[in-house]
Amino acid sequence: MDKTTILDQLPYSPPFLFVDEIYSVNDNSISGGYFFDSDLDFYRGHFKKAPVTPGVILTECMAQIGVVCLGIYLNSLENMAAENSHFALSSTDIEFLKPVFPGEKVRVEAEKQYFRFHKLKSKVEMFNEKGELVCRGIIAGMILKSNNSGK
C-alpha cells in the first residue's frame, strides 16, 4: 500500500482530519505531517485572546498518524481493507513540552510497540519545524471489523 492510499482510506474529514501527508511508512514505523492553519475554528476559543493548539488536538493528530494511518498500513499487510474496519482509541499517555501556535507545521514520528489481537500500541513523538520535540507519549487503539460491536 502506498502513502496516498493510506490518506484516501482515512475515516476522517475536515474539520477533524489532522493529517496532510505521510512521509514514510513501513511495518514498524510511520512519519507524517500536518499544518495547523490559523483559520481552524478551535483557535477562536482556545484561548480567547491567545490562540494555541489544544493538547487534545495535538493528541488527535498524533493518534491519526501514529495509530490510525499506521494501523491502516499494517492491516493492508494482512489483506484487511480499511473500509471494513473501524477504529477506537483505547489509551493515551502524553506529555506536552512546547506550545504549537496557529500557522505551525508539525511532523509526527511513531514507532509500533506491538500490534496484537487487533490492538495497536505506538510510541509517538511530535516535532515542530525547528525540529524541537513538542510532545511525546504512548497511544493505543483497537482496529475492529465493522460487523463487530467492539467494547
Binding site: 483505547s90 496484537r116 490492538k119 493505543a140 483497537m142 467492539g150
Partner: protein, 84 residues
C-alpha cells in the same frame, strides 16, 4: 505448575486492569474477565501479553478469542506450557 499457582499468578497480572474490584474477592475459575472484572477488550490484550511474558508462552488469535474466564485462561496456559 499447579492450578493454584497459575491462578494466583494470573490474579496478580489482571489486578491493574480490573474496573470492578469486588470481582477480585472471589477470583476463581468461573470469574469472567469482561462481566465480573469489567476488563475491556483493549486491556484484555495487555493481560494476554503479560501472560505470555509471565509463563513464557505464545498465545494465538483463536486461544485469545476463547479466553473469557479465569478457567479458560488457566487451561490455555497449561496447554501452551505443556506444548512448549
Amino acid at each position: 505448575m499447579s492450578d493454584n499457582e497459575i491462578i494466583s499468578r494470573l490474579k496478580k497480572i489482571v489486578e491493574p486492569y480490573v474496573q470492578r474490584t469486588e470481582g477480585m474477592e472471589n477470583f476463581e475459575e468461573e470469574t469472567d474477565f469482561l462481566n465480573d472484572l469489567q476488563i475491556n477488550s483493549a486491556n484484555l490484550v495487555d493481560v494476554v501479553l503479560d501472560v505470555e511474558d509471565e509463563f513464557d508462552i505464545e498465545i494465538d488469535n483463536d486461544s485469545m478469542e476463547g479466553m473469557l474466564t479465569v478457567g479458560d485462561a488457566k487451561s490455555i496456559i497449561k496447554r501452551k506450557m505443556a506444548a512448549g
